[in-house]
């Protein structure tokens, strides 16, 4: 009986977590987008040109990481977050382009 209780308790924790991780990466995506937005504010607040250029490279890497996750999501599992992340990446790409000769 005790073993059964223990098993039930473990399942109560693991089942939602495992099914969540397997079926929905939008939570990770949102978190990464939030970090990217926060980083962008630091980029445009930086007055030193060479530091800013280095930060822009970091920003481009952050964008590539998000893009890599986004492109691996099968169409059937794409959520609103996955769709909108592509548009967020696009406008960040546009902002970066205006700042690059």
């Amino acid at each position: 009986m005790e073993k059964l209780k223990g098993l039930l308790f473990l399942m109560a924790i693991l089942v939602p977590v495992v099914s969540y991780s397997a079926s929905d990466t939008s939570h990770d995506m949102d978190k990464m987008l939030l970090e990217m937005e926060s980083h962008w504010k630091q980029v445009i607040a930086e007055k030193d040109l060479s530091k800013r250029q280095s930060m822009m490279k970091d920003h481009a890497n952050m964008m590539m990481d998000i893009r890599a996750i986004n492109k691996d999501i099968p169409e059937a599992k794409r959520t609103e977050s996955h769709h909108s992340s592509g548009n967020v990446l696009e406008i960040h790409h546009m902002m970066m382009e205006t700042m690059t000769k």
């Binding site: 109560a12 924790i13 939030l34 630091q42 445009i44 769709h83 546009m94 382009e97 700042m99």
Partner: protein, 161 residues
């Protein structure tokens, strides 16, 4: 058995709190807002950091009213607009933006149209706005399409560092 139920409830509550807290912060994304018909994405770059001459679709001779007239605090505000149901880019909208700051008593506001631009080969809407002080700015957009009645209104908040 009661202890098991109690543990079970605590575990479920804990999981729900963790996930709901994450989604609250995720839903507060300042660069993406929705209206009835549109998904709108915001991008802001200080004008003095712009290195390329943005290309206007309508071939206006004076970009956004003239770059030479810009103050050192000008910000280049750009948006992209997508249809919420079809997810397609909106290329034919008229967009009016009002940027304001301050309290109700000391509110300063500036209203301008956002002009169509091509950046990275894609259409966006942009203009320069003076944001002289650090702090929160309210960016209110009115989006019109010629084939639709009325307009959609969307508000962003931008915290200038």
């Amino acid at each position: 058995m009661n202890k098991t139920i109690l543990r079970f409830s605590k575990a479920i509550t804990f999981i729900m709190v963790i996930f709901s807290a994450s989604y609250i912060s995720a839903s507060d994304l300042s660069w993406h807002e929705k209206s009835e018909n549109y998904n709108v994405y915001l991008g802001i770059v200080p004008a003095d950091m712009i290195k390329t001459t943005p290309s206007l679709v309508d071939n206006d001779k004076n970009l956004h009213g003239g770059v030479s007239k810009l103050s050192s605090n000008a910000q280049h505000v750009m948006i992209t607009i997508f249809n919420r149901s079809t997810k397609k880019r909106i290329n034919n909208a008229t967009v009016i933006a009002e940027v304001s700051s301050g309290t109700l008593l000391g509110r300063k506001k500036l209203e301008k149209p956002l002009e169509k631009m091509n950046t990275s080969g894609q259409l966006n809407y942009a203009n320069y706005f003076d944001m002289p002080k650090k702090g929160k700015y309210k960016i209110e957009l009115e989006i019109y399409e010629s084939n639709k009645n009325g307009s959609d209104e969307i508000t962003f908040f931008y915290d200038k560092q």
